[in-house]
């Protein structure tokens, strides 16, 4: 029943978000029907669109679970953007210079990418653990630092002189991740990561402690969870996931090099996905796919209509606010109605 209600709330609020956006598209003198049709055709319409939607969704899945696992454990990791960029740059650099056979090389690069993401989050973890600095602000600041640092690396020491924009050289062809019918192998890695994370959070002792920390921090502390080392662990783990996102973006994406702006908005999108998914790993997966449809469809939308693809950023935010707003309003007011009904019962009994 509870699950049914949640799905209903999500569907109703997503539909209302689409209606709000339709009105805004209409105001800008474009046709909402054509826009949404293009969104559908290019997001889901054919196997080609569908497989590229899944590819688009891959980094979102990683940043999404990263945010979801952190929030569910009461740790505010907003540093997905920076962790992703650090994972991406190290993969892009090593992908040029590393000499290993294809499959081993790919695995090594993926793991190193993830570890560098974890290390970047580890800075915030150290600051939190030893200097009591709020991870919420430190992860944010690390985003900006990573952004400038990676652009520096791509502009000066590792610049591809033939490129028109600041970019590193193309990684070795043997390290490109294989496609299966247009669907990149990176997507399967993402699905595998979802399953592992779900198992880890639901079935292991650590996962249980994480969830308790998110549920009630002080209770978890009194109950004997080693809150401090768990916070560190959560930051490292979620940093690792974001680093993977960056690494796979280089190995499995389309560009195979680090370019300025490659991180796009994946970090914040992941945070938003985790929020509307209520920090559940499985829901995060489905919302990532949904956002993937929007993102992939956006390119078609720009192609077919005069609505620029940036509109999708706005639309995502409307969806987030609609879902979250409806959910909490429904929760709050049903609780209120229930208590009023109870009150009425008590009053009428006394009469």
């Amino acid at each position: 029943m509870k699950i049914f209600q949640r799905i209903a709330v999500s569907i109703i609020s997503i539909i209302s978000a689409f209606i709000i956006c339709a009105v805004l598209i209409k105001i800008q003198n474009n046709s909402p029907i054509d826009t949404y049709k293009a969104l559908y055709t290019y997001g889901l319409g054919s196997w080609f669109s569908f497989s590229s939607t899944l590819n688009t969704a891959t980094p979102l899945i990683f940043t999404g679970i990263s945010a979801a696992v952190a929030f569910a454990s009461g740790v505010v990791n907003l540093g997905q953007h920076g962790q992703l960029l650090m994972g991406a740059i190290i993969t892009a650099i090593l992908g040029v210079y590393l000499n290993l056979p294809s499959s081993i090389g790919i695995s090594v690069l993926v793991i190193i990418g993830g570890l560098v993401g974890a290390l970047w989050a580890g800075i915030a973890a150290i600051l939190k653990r030893f200097y009591k600095m709020d991870e919420f602000i430190s992860t944010l600041m690390l985003n900006f630092i990573a952004e400038y640092f990676t652009v520096y690396l791509a502009t000066y020491p590792f610049l591809d002189k033939k490129a028109y924009v600041p970019a590193t050289r193309l990684i070795k062809r043997i390290y490109f991740m294989p496609d299966v019918n247009g669907l990149n192998f990176a997507f399967f890695v993402a699905v595998f990561t979802i399953l592992i994370s779900y198992w880890y959070i639901k079935k292991t002792w650590h996962g249980y402690e994480f969830r308790m920390m998110g549920y009630n921090f002080n209770f978890a502390k009194v109950g004997g969870c080693s809150v401090e080392s768990n916070t560190t662990l959560v930051l490292l783990f979620t940093g690792f996931l974001s680093g993977l996102a960056g690494s796979l973006l280089i190995l499995g994406g389309t560009q195979h090099r680090f370019m300025k702006g490659i991180g796009a908005n994946f970090g914040w999108d992941g945070v938003m996905i985790a929020i509307i998914a209520n920090n559940s790993v499985i829901e995060t997966f489905f919302y990532s796919l949904f956002f993937g449809v929007l993102k992939n469809g956006a390119i078609g939308m720009e192609f077919e209509t005069s609505v620029p693809s940036e509109f999708i950023l706005f639309m995502e935010a409307v969806i987030v606010l609609a879902v979250v707003g409806t959910r909490s309003a429904v929760e709050h007011y049903t609780q209120w109605m229930r208590s009023m009904a109870k009150l009425r019962k008590v009053v009428s009994k006394n009469d």
Binding site: Q28, V76, L127, Y131, K132, M133, D134, I137, S138, L140, M141, L142, F144, I145, Y148, F149, V151, Y152, T155, Y156, W268, V271, M272, I275, S306, V307, P308, E310, F311, I312, L313, F314, M315, E316, A317, V318, V320, L321, V324, G325, S328, A329, E331, H332
Partner: protein, 297 residues
């Protein structure tokens, strides 16, 4: 060398202003015990609509009016979700920031047909004020004179707000609501109303900070031009526990870091490292604050 130092001090005042205006706005919500992280978004929409008004109506006054209206709208939106629909304030804030980023990027494309940044001679900047007496003092006077008037307004408002918060009935109500909404309700204060007023004031001041960014600091609008200043403002508010005078001090320190970063660009340092300075500075300030806190126990 002296010229460089003077230039640096002048740039410090200028860089401190947007951070300070947003932090003063966030101060109201801080005292009302609202965890408001939407300053970044409010700043960005303020900056956009200031340019919008200034571009289409050829007047910076209309630009400010547009920006204030957008600030009012964003504050209304925040209040609607966080206060009336009882959403988590943190989540609402992230949603609103994303909304602002999405909307301004989209509108830049669809209204002005440009990508990245809008630079145009049609954007009328804020007028610069020469302060009498000071402008005759030569180079030292030059630090203080000839800034856009919003800068002076920001510095004066620090003192007004200090009095407003600690010596007025409104300030008392505000702080009481933040401390304990239920008790203040029993004392005849409407906590919802006070929170609403605090949010609206935050929206207006953050929007003004955006105006300073796009019409005062430079004369253009670029995607995501607030670039984390709203977050730095939030860090400042948390560090100084909201006190306006302390906000002034810390904003000046951040302004100094930013202008040092700008000056470093003239030397053989990559511009990216210079741009990192304010964010690294934030981490350092947080570090020293944490150290201080541990000393106190």
């Amino acid at each position: 060398m002296t010229e460089l130092v003077l230039h640096m001090f002048r740039a410090t005042l200028s860089s401190a202003t947007p951070i300070m205006l947003a932090a003063l706005g966030g101060m109201f919500t801080y005292y009302a015990n609202i965890f408001n992280i939407a300053m970044e978004g409010m700043m960005l929409t303020g900056a956009f609509f200031a340019v919008y008004g200034s571009y289409f109506f050829g007047s910076w006054v209309i630009g400010i009016v547009f920006a204030l209206l957008s600030g009012l709208f964003m504050a209304g939106l925040f209040a609607f979700f966080a206060i009336y629909l009882r959403c988590d304030e943190f989540i609402t804030g992230i949603g609103i920031n994303m909304l602002a980023l999405g909307w301004t990027t989209y509108a830049l494309r669809s209204t002005f047909k440009v990508k990245g940044a809008l630079i145009s001679p049609k954007i009328v900047p804020l007028p610069k004020w020469n302060i009498p007496f000071l402008d005759r003092l030569g180079s030292v006077g030059n630090i203080f004179s000839g800034h856009p008037f919003l800068l002076y307004l920001a510095f004066i408002s620090v003192f007004i707000l200090e009095i407003l918060i600690f010596n007025s009935k409104f300030g008392l109500h505000l702080r009481a609501t933040g401390e304990d909404p239920e008790t203040s309700r029993s004392a005849g204060i409407n906590p919802i109303k006070v929170k609403l007023v605090a949010t609206v004031l935050c929206g207006l001041l953050s929007a003004l900070s955006g105006v300073y960014l796009s019409l005062g600091y430079v004369t253009l609008f670029s995607e995501n031009m607030s670039n984390g200043r709203g977050w730095i403002s939030l860090a400042i508010i948390i560090l100084v526990k909201g006190r306006p005078l302390a906000i002034l001090g810390l904003s000046l320190i951040f302004g100094l870091f930013e202008s040092v970063g700008l000056i470093l660009q003239h030397y053989k340092l990559a511009p990216q490292f210079a741009a990192m300075v304010p964010y690294i500075a934030t981490l350092f300030v947080l570090y020293f604050y944490g150290k201080e806190k541990r000393k106190q126990g």
